[in-house]
Subunit: 115 residues, 2 copies
Amino acid sequence: MTYRHPDRAQIRVDDVLSALGNHVRLAAVRVLDAGGEHNCTSVLEAIGVTAKSTMTHHWRVLRESGVIWQQASGRENLVTLRRDDLDARYPGLLDAVLTGAREDEALETVPTHLW
Amino acid sequence: MTYRHPDRAQIRVDDVLSALGNHVRLAAVRVLDAGGEHNCTSVLEAIGVTAKSTMTHHWRVLRESGVIWQQASGRENLVTLRRDDLDARYPGLLDAVLTGAREDEALETVPTHLW
């Protein structure tokens, strides 16, 4: 199976934002950003999502917006963050998003009476 | 009518991204970013949206995610970008998004045979 992806010039910022604007997809992108090539199942396990069909939808949204490459390789399904393309088209965007996600997470672990 | 807004600490990056990840809402935010206080109707006219009920939904998404302040003032309904809050929580994010939107627009005006 060959997946279709937008070329770098076809990527649009509203599609990227919409793709990243979901906590499951954002969690998946954070796993991919930690580096290396991943298969769909390992990311699924890393973020604690068990519904494979739901994740299939999320991969499609990430792929069609230009956020990830996805390719079948034997029985595996590999996913990689398109960091070069995103950084080239939208300098600073991905870093700001990933830093923001980490900050949000840190905030959520602070007891609310300390806010 | 008083609208409810999240406090700065309640803002979450996935909500912000989801709010900005729509071409109508992104166009509205670009108008607000150009500065000044706007009323809903003037933004509607600036971006060429005529369906007021649709826009009511968009304002709600932008408000509840923490992207804008919205307040009734007499017969007017005023909207302002929460740039201070967004820049404080997610440094560089809004600028990267707005620059990206401008770049996308520029790309779309280039004849496709020059891509």
